[in-house]
């Protein structure tokens, strides 16, 4: 009984601390996009083989912590992203295989300064399956490139950096958003969720203390 009690106390304290620390962190926010609309995206490239796509004339904001590319794959391959300027790699990052969906965020090393005319490249090794690069049609001189060849358009690129507001300071806005999304009172909905969680924790603790020893 004593060992279980101590384990629960330590576990719940660690969990509370972790939640507290998370609330003091800032969520990543979208700093800027390259202007390619996200609601009219078409496939500017489709491949089932390894490829490297590069897109010039991108503006990398200072302190960018991740760059999001509109890529679609059912099981995404290991993907490397790098930012070039004057032929030099300024920053880069990698995302392991297994991602899915229609946008891939690759964490990159932050730079203190903005880079006005950067080239964003995305490279991956692929053998089977299909991977689509989404964006919008553009003239060849503005388009992304695969080697020397221009693709039919530009890919959508988004730049993400740590926000200035903490999760804790955003709680009122989050509660409000929950209410707006549920067509109800956000405070009341959150209260219901917290009550359910409290009941869940209470029942779990009770069963552990009575049946585990």
């Amino acid at each position: 009984m004593r060992g279980v009690g101590i384990t629960l106390a330590v576990g719940f304290t660690a969990m509370a601390l972790a939640v507290g620390l998370s609330l003091l962190r800032s969520p990543a926010t979208l700093t800027r996009t390259n202007g390619v609309a996200d609601d009219t995206q078409t496939a500017v490239a489709a491949t089932s083989e390894s490829a490297v796509y590069c897109q010039p004339n991108e503006e990398l904001p200072a302190h960018t912590s991740a760059i999001r590319i509109s890529l679609v794959a059912s099981i995404g391959p290991r993907t490397r992203l790098y930012v070039l300027s004057a032929g030099h790699v300024l920053t880069s990052g990698e995302q392991g295989a297994g991602w899915t969906g229609s946008a891939l965020a690759v964490p990159v090393r932050q730079l203190a300064r903005a880079v006005p005319a950067a080239t964003v490249c995305v490279a991956f090794r692929l053998r089977d399956g299909m991977l689509f690069l989404l964006g919008e049609d553009t003239p060849p001189d503005r388009a992304a490139r695969e080697g020397r060849f221009a693709l039919p358009g530009r890919m959508r690129v988004e730049f993400v950096s740590p926000g200035t507001r903490t999760w804790a300071s955003m709680i009122p806005a989050i509660v409000r958003s929950i209410g707006l999304s549920h067509d109800g009172d956000g405070g009341l909905i959150v209260l219901v969720v917290l009550t359910l969680l409290a009941l869940l924790v209470g029942l779990t603790t009770r069963l552990l203390l009575t049946d585990l020893p």
């Binding site: 059912s74 946008a103 929950i178 707006l180 029942l203």
Partner: protein
């Protein structure tokens, strides 16, 4: 109420509370295929008939609501949150009002849900009808809460299965298994949505329990009827249940052979009874299809007829979908560890429309407790190897059920390969095996030994609780942050 039964009820209640939280926090229609499942219920509730096609042309009412909810903007785009401003909310209310005024009855199209059997949707038609005076969001919430109740059934049967499969106890191992499974975030997420998977998990857990019960206490008429009826319910719930059927039938044969040693040929009547009850919906379905000039087994017949590639290629693919490729064979997933980067990652955290993930380091960190659990479980299996040998028939049954489901998922994925690498490599499809997962957790707790067992059990449950809480916070941050 006995201690065991009380614990089972508590596990059920914990699972219901958990799934109810998920049902509230997951933004409307942002769970896999939820709009299609909703459309199926609408069709069944309003017209008492099944959807006639699998097109993605939802009813005007549903389309308006999805537009108000910015469904297509939010789906698969983690940077796009749910409604955050008053103008967006006003637009949603306007669309919901317009949706309520739409007089289209039913929804002939139900997208990917169209090919599914109707049982789950018939259950969901009850809350749908009860909340007919409410807005579409209110109706969806009540339907989600109905699914959440099924999470309780799942957790209860996982507890009971652990109790039957590991009769030596101690009770803490059953409690730890039941509670941990009740707190599995993916169970909460899927059972907190409108999706037949919720009923599939519950039925599958019940099948495992009654099989274990029959192996432990003997195969009788009641057991045969119950297992047969559960198979029938499973087949009426979701096509994926077909994967479990060969293993269940193997279990029935093993049970019958055992029973025949004591009771002679009468045992075979039990087998006939179970099979007859189990296959009755299939026979009825095939008869209706044959009379209406359709393929006898619907989409299953069509899938079998359109197989491609050699059997060896398919087997190789299915193997690699779960395990590392064997040297000398074609590698269908080069550069990807499917076990770690798809299945483990999918279990640790992949919510919404597969667009809501933890930061990368979380998946690496999660390998630590997962390895510890696997080691403890293996230790206990090794210690109990003699007892396991005595229960070979029972274990072969569970293994056959698992292999059948894994094979079905693999075969379905291979059907779309190589256009899509692995369309059905989603962990939610494995949750019908939650009972086995629960038993593995119970073994891990027992593997910690008599002295450390209670602490290990408590630590395990706290770990699952933390995983669940942080998964819910992740979803809150993604949709409302």
């Amino acid at each position: 109420m006995s201690g065991g039964l009380r614990a089972a009820w508590i596990c059920a209640l914990v699972a219901v509370c958990n799934a109810a939280c998920w049902s509230i926090l997951t933004y409307a229609f942002q769970a896999p295929d939820e709009p299609d499942h909703y459309a199926y219920v609408k069709q069944l509730a309003e017209t008492a008939s099944l959807p006639s096609n699998g097109l993605e042309q939802l009813s005007g009412e549903e389309e308006l609501a999805l537009e108000g909810l910015r469904y297509r903007d939010v789906r698969e785009l983690p940077e796009d949150p749910a409604i955050t401003s008053s103008p967006e909310a006003r637009e949603l209310h306007r669309d919901l009002r317009l949706a309520a005024q739409e007089h289209d009855t039913g929804s002939a199209s139900a997208g990917v849900a169209q090919s599914e059997p109707p049982l789950y949707y018939a259950i969901e038609a009850i809350p749908y009808t009860l909340a007919s005076g409410d807005s579409m969001l209110g109706r969806l919430q009540l339907m989600r809460l109905t699914s959440a109740l099924l999470a309780g059934v799942t957790a209860m049967f996982v507890f009971l299965f652990a109790r039957e499969a590991l009769p030596g106890g101690p009770p803490r191992v059953w409690c730890a298994a039941g509670l941990a499974v009740a707190l599995v975030p993916l169970l909460g997420f899927m059972s907190g949505a409108v999706n037949p998977d919720a009923l599939l998990y519950a039925v599958s857990a019940a099948v495992f329990y009654f099989l274990a019960r029959a192996f432990r206490r003997g195969f009788d008429r009641r057991g045969a009827l119950t297992i047969g009826a559960l198979v029938a319910v499973g087949l009426l719930t979701k096509l994926n249940f077909i994967g479990l059927v060969p293993g269940v039938f193997l279990g029935l044969v093993v049970l019958t052979v055992r029973a025949a040693r004591a009771r002679g040929r009468t045992a075979y009547r039990l087998l006939a009874l179970a099979l007859g009850v189990a296959l009755s919906p299939v026979a009825a379905y095939a008869a209706v299809n044959a009379l209406s000039d359709h393929p006898p087994f619907g989409i299953v017949s069509a899938a079998v007829q359109t197989l491609h590639g050699s059997v060896l290629s398919e087997l190789n693919y299915i193997w690699q979908l779960y395990l590392p490729h064997i040297p000398g064979t074609v590698n269908d997933f080069p550069g990807i560890s499917m076990l770690r980067e798809v299945w483990f990652r999918g279990y640790v955290g992949l919510y919404g429309w597969f667009d809501t993930t933890f930061p990368g380091w979380v998946y690496t960190l999660a390998l630590l407790p997962a390895t510890a659990i696997a080691v403890l479980c293996a230790r206990e299996l090794l210690r109990e190897r003699l007892a396991l040998r005595r229960r070979a028939g029972e274990l072969a049954t569970y293994a056959a059920v698992a292999v059948g489901l894994l094979g079905l998922i693999g075969a379905d994925s291979y059907h779309e390969f190589p256009m899509f690498d692995a369309s059905y490599a989603q962990v939610r499809y494995l949750l019908p095996l939650l009972a086995l997962f629960g038993a593995a957790l119970a073994l891990a707790v027992r593997g910690a030994g008599r002295r450390f067992g209670p602490v290990a059990g408590a630590a395990l449950v706290v770990l699952f609780l933390a995983h669940d809480v942080f998964s819910q916070l992740l979803v809150v941050g993604r949709y409302y942050g």
